[in-house]
């Protein structure tokens, strides 16, 4: 497939406005301005583009939730937080083609009637925030942004807002809190951001890759976009592949390729002649798939049918040498560290998982541990929390226990009782009656 999102990768000077214009840049925005907001939204609906940030929500439909007659400002926010483990695709777009992101933001802002847009970028991405600032500077100087976008009379400002180290700020309502100068505590939904978002105004949050799809939908038409993949799962997708493959990296492929093709053809298979053991298909928050499930198609619906999710398209590949108990402990640690602490099942559950998993690793596992883990995971998901971070650790960790239970049980069979603790803490006292029933 001819690349659309990574067209600029490998081109000399690809980040400059001159290079972008020479490749037909800002033509999509020009068409959008000529078409008008409603037609633009219709094109995006017809393209069947689904959000690339994780949830796969239809982009055009999300835009229609913005109240038409709302007085006062509304906002577009580009989510460049990219903090889902295993995901590094937005950085690749910004690195090679920052103007593609800016054009996408301008098209979406115009469609929803926003005159101010923010790019929320994770704090660690200093270099990529600077690249965006440079590109924005060029676009302002050339009157592509500002009071009179491309001579159309439409005005738009885009500002870069840097996060400061918090996974949870990738979640859209936490991101909005952070944008407003607060701690990143997710908000209860509803109301959804499209109705009450940044500064209490209607706000659309879209991922970098989602927005980067827009220019080509406008120049080549929604039918072209929808012809890639299959109905409801259309368009090109970036797959960030990491872990034990020969050639890790970002690959642009049509939705619906199989994970076998991604891992064994594009990425050259498993390193050092080893065998595939398992992989996370859509970032670390997606339930794990085993080597036997490698023929699953990499699209939203096929992943859902396989009991997992395409998520951000971050494929983490693990070979036969990986101990799945260690993998579970590593992820539990990540989520326990990143839980914002508002909800008991998430805050306590993630910490409890860390305790149990580390105790198993230390050789003190107990027969009831696997079931306790599954129960904690049940309790922290299924809508028991304010935001989906509870699900984000519950689903992958319970999938590891379910699919690799023998590895847990082998360790537990060889375990010795834990030495008594000086200060017993409740979670260590074994399953509590009534918990999770």
């Amino acid at each position: 497939m001819e690349p659309t999102l990574l067209k600029a990768r490998g081109l000399e000077g690809s980040r400059t406005l001159a290079s972008y214009l020479s490749r037909g840049g800002y033509e999509g925005l020009r068409r959008a301005l000529a078409l008008g907001p409603q037609e633009v939204t219709k094109s995006v609906i017809d393209s069947e583009l689904r959000g690339r940030g994780g949830a796969g929500f239809p982009t055009g439909r999300k835009w229609t939730f913005v109240p038409k007659d709302h007085p006062g400002p509304r906002y577009l926010v580009c989510n460049a937080d990219e903090s889902e483990p295993g995901t590094f695709k937005d950085r690749e777009i910004i690195e090679h083609d920052p103007h593609l992101v800016i054009e996408g933001i301008a098209i979406a802002s115009f469609a929803i009637g926003a005159h101010t847009a923010y790019i929320y970028i994770r704090g660690e991405f200093v270099r990529w925030a600077n690249l965006l600032e440079q590109a924005l500077g060029e676009a302002r100087r050339e009157k592509i942004l500002g009071a009179d976008v491309l001579g159309s009379g439409y005005s738009l400002d885009i500002w870069v807002h840097r996060g400061a180290g918090a996974y949870i700020c990738g979640e859209e309502t936490s991101l909005l809190e952070s944008l407003e100068g607060k701690r990143g505590f997710p908000r209860l939904k509803p109301p959804f951001p499209a109705v009450v978002g940044a500064f209490g105004k209607p706000t659309v949050v879209n991922n970098v890759e989602t927005l980067a799809c827009l220019p080509s939908i406008l120049t080549r038409g929604p039918a072209w976009f929808a012809s890639i993949g299959r109905p409801r799962n259309t368009g090109p997708k970036l797959f960030s592949v990491s872990g034990h493959v020969v050639r890790p990296g970002v690959y642009e492929l049509p939705l619906g390729v199989t994970f076998r093709e991604i891992i064994f053809e594009h990425c050259g298979g498993i390193r050092a002649g080893r065998k595939l053991k398992a992989f996370f298909p859509g970032g670390s928050s997606a339930p794990v798939l085993t080597a036997a499930e490698v023929d699953t198609k990499a699209d939203f619906d096929a992943c859902a049918e396989a009991g997992t999710m395409l998520g951000s398209g971050g494929v983490i590949v693990l070979d036969e040498t990986v101990d799945m108990v260690e993998a579970a402990a590593n992820l539990a640690h990540f989520y326990a560290h990143e839980s914002c602490g508002q909800c008991t099942p998430c805050r306590e559950g993630s910490d409890w998982l860390v305790d149990i998993l580390h105790r198993i690793l230390a050789g003190h596992g107990r027969a009831e541990d696997p079931d306790t883990i599954l129960r904690i995971c049940r309790f922290a998901s299924q809508g028991m929390t304010i935001c989906p971070l509870g699900d984000a650790f519950s689903l992958p960790i319970s999938s590891i226990v379910s699919k690799f239970r023998d590895e847990f049980e082998r360790r537990i069979a060889a375990a010795t009782p834990a030495p008594p603790r000086k200060h017993p803490v409740l979670p260590w006292a074994g399953p509590r009656p009534g918990f999770g029933r």
């Binding site: 950085r91 990296g249 990143e338």
Partner: protein, 175 residues
Amino acid sequence: MSTAPIHAANPEELREVRFDAAMESQIAELLTHYPIPRAALLPVLWLCQKRYGWIAPGVMEAVAARLGLSPAYVQGVVTFYTMFHTTPPARFVLQVCTTLSCAVCGAGELLAHLRKRLGIGPGERTPDGTFQIVGVQCLGACGSAPVVQVNDDYYENLDPAKLDALLDELAAAKE
């Protein structure tokens, strides 16, 4: 290009902070990006961290006064995020990613090597104040694992030999 060291102002200097004209004009510019002053909090904190190396209590007070917030509020925000230094950092902060993709591609080896070479582990700093190690979560560069961020810069596809070369270069860096 080599990573620039952090120059952390000493706590004495930051007891009472008054922004100079350059800082004031940058803050004024930032305020134009947002409908309410509070929204400029993170950008202003970044500005301060760049300028003073860390966010001392005196800095929080000055930021709070400038944006019309209470010092306690500002402290609450500062401590929610992991990237603001609330104590003076070493000249080079080595942020070693320890999340899954890096973990299975050699992050542990890097930490062991750092321990051997610098004698310190995550959460510690060398007595001369040159290096400080922080174990961090996924840096969003998993395809080139293992990854270490040094101050503002990413170093990817590392192994102990490359890490050694990097440490040599940083240790030799002029002020």
